[in-house]
């Protein structure tokens, strides 16, 4: 594992934090959009297993993680103070596919990993920018990092469940409207019901659909076989090696609750 120094760990919204980790540029250079790292919170045994997070952005020698507090690991992470050292391992998993003419659909904290994609697609070399970003959350307050996202000049469509900002309703409604007009490749990350819906839309509008999936991970490097996603063929894919981004048509989404 590498050691990184926490340079900030600030609340962005209810239960959402932005963590900055200082680490050698050499290490950070190896990270590609779509990949993730795992963070060992501290030396105590509770929580025991490092938790996986996407890379939200990289600036010089600072790695940004955007995360939501959902359980004891993220709770403990949110209590870490500036100056403390944390251990991490990465890059893990596969980068996003190299696609053109696509839209992004993000639900809630699912936005986290796309910041880095935007950063890296500015020069249109290894990655291409999306045509549009669809970003939904429960309320206005949970739509985070908008100034950062907006600075890439890509149209962002917002929705909230309560209508406190943007379209009132599900982000997938907006995506469907877009696909009707203009069928395009979709790259989506968010809660399970959203992913299911996106997969359906992908099928309906016959567009290639990529889903960024989640499971509980242990090793993150293919040792434990713990992170399986059932495939349509009947075998299992491993999120930490074959993912986290999968072609929707290859996955048996029935296992999602």
């Amino acid at each position: 594992m590498y050691q990184g120094k926490v340079v900030f760990n600030i609340k962005e919204a209810d239960n959402i934090y932005l963590l900055g980790i200082e680490a050698p540029k050499k290490i950070l250079k190896s990270f590609k959009p779509g990949q993730f790292l795992k963070i060992k919170i501290d030396k105590r045994f509770d929580p025991l297993i490092p938790r996986p997070f996407s890379i939200h952005a990289i600036d010089e020698n600072i790695l940004y993680i955007l995360y939501q507090v959902v359980g004891k690991g993220t709770k403990a992470l949110s209590e870490i103070k500036k100056g403390e050292i944390i251990e991490f391992l990465g890059p893990l998993g596969k980068p996003f596919p190299k696609i053109k003419n696509y839209i992004i659909c993000a639900g809630g904290i699912g936005i986290a990993g796309f910041g880095f994609l935007l950063q890296k697609s500015v020069n249109k070399k290894d990655f291409y920018p999306p045509e549009k970003i669809f970003y939904g959350a429960k309320t206005k307050n949970e739509l985070v990092r908008l100034p950062f996202l907006k600075k890439f000049g890509i149209p962002i469509k917002l929705s909230t469940d309560d209508g406190s900002k943007g379209y009132k309703g599900l982000i997938t409604d907006m995506v469907e409207k877009e696909l009707k007009k203009n069928p395009q490749i979709i790259l989506a990350c968010g809660p399970q019901p959203m992913l299911k819906k996106i997969a359906e839309l992908g099928e309906k509008y016959k567009v290639k659909t990529y889903l960024v999936m989640e499971t509980f991970l242990a090793c993150g490097i293919g040792f434990c076989m713990g992170c399986v996603i059932p495939s349509k063929k009947g075998n299992y894919l491993h999120l930490c090696i074959d993912g986290p981004t999968f072609l929707a048509e290859e996955i048996d989404l029935g296992f999602l609750s």
Binding site: C224, M225, G226, G234, F255
Partner: protein
């Protein structure tokens, strides 16, 4: 400091072994260690459980974290013996450390077939996983049935002349099984596999995960088994359960283990072996400083 250990038919450069299922099939050792590090720190590599046919393993979820522990329900996902020999063994042989193949069978015949199949291969030893259901006996675990274990070990012993270890389950008639393994010709026993455990993963709808518990939570339980069993038998006991630090490893060695395996800690940090061996050396040095008797 000389850390080499003699396990009868097997000599290890260090007492540290990588436990089954926590380094995959070992083919990626050199991704996380230099060759020098591998040879100086890792006494032996135990592969993931290997069965005759490929096994795709259990449906998700396969993992759940509990207080200071991890439940796994992998279901021995592995490519099968043929693919293992073809695509993995050539790679892991090159690391220059003893390779011990962990065998998974659901009938005595399966274990025998696997053992025979490996006779011509350059593997240092076998580890029999007896925490498997015995389909010939209605699915009751091998480890609950001393007679079956005796038959299993004797039969494998007949066809396998190199190092042969049996990996015990920590539940069931453990002491009896340990003694029977010794009598039946095993060279060593590994104490122990994971503990049968249950986690509630959803309250509503009520969903559970049953699997094996590993990690620091179980250390006090397995340490006791190692202590008690190593008083009862003469063949080496290899301790395995919850080792995270060099101090943990030393506790096992002082409690009667001749060598030890590390499992869950590899999942936390793939370079755990290096850290543990470094700490073990420091601890041993510290202890030796104060007297001559160590």
């Amino acid at each position: 400091m000389d850390f080499s250990v003699n396990l009868g038919l097997l000599k290890l450069k260090t007492p540290l072994m990588l436990a089954s299922g926590t380094w995959g099939l070992g083919e990626n050792l050199d991704k996380f260690f230099s060759l020098k590090e591998i040879r100086e720190n890792i006494g032996a590599l135990v592969t993931k459980g290997i069965s005759i046919n490929p096994r795709k393993g259990n449906p998700p979820p396969r993992l759940f974290e509990t207080p200071c522990g991890l439940i796994n329900f992998i279901g021995v996902e592995n490519p099968g013996i043929k693919e293992f020999k073809k695509s993995f063994l050539p790679k892991i042989k090159k690391f220059g450390i003893p390779v011990i193949v962990n065998l998974y069978g659901e009938k005595i015949e399966e274990f025998l077939e696997l053992a025979k199949d490996l006779k011509k291969e350059k593997v240092a030893g076998l580890e029999l996983n007896i925490s498997c259901p015995n389909v010939e006996k209605g699915g009751i675990y091998f480890s609950y049935d001393p007679k079956i274990v005796s038959e299993l070990v004797r039969k494998v012993r007949k066809v396998w002349e190199r190092f042969l270890a049996v990996k015990l389950s920590p539940v069931g008639p453990v002491y009896e099984i340990a003694e029977i393994c010794e009598k039946s010709g095993a060279d060593a026993i590994v104490v122990a596999n994971t503990y049968p455990a249950l986690a509630v993963i959803s309250l509503k709808p009520f969903k559970i995960l049953q699997g094996g518990l590993s990690g620091p939570a179980i250390k006090p339980l397995t340490l006791r088994l190692v202590y008690e069993i190593s008083k009862k038998i003469k063949i080496p006991v290899i301790g395995c359960g919850g080792i995270i630090s060099g101090k943990d490893a030393l506790e096992y060695l002082l409690s009667g283990a001749k060598a030890f395996q590390i499992g869950t800690t590899n999942l936390i940090d793939p370079r755990s072996a290096i850290k543990i061996m470094r700490e073990l050396k420091e601890f041993k040095n510290g202890l030796c400083d104060k007297s001559d008797t160590c």
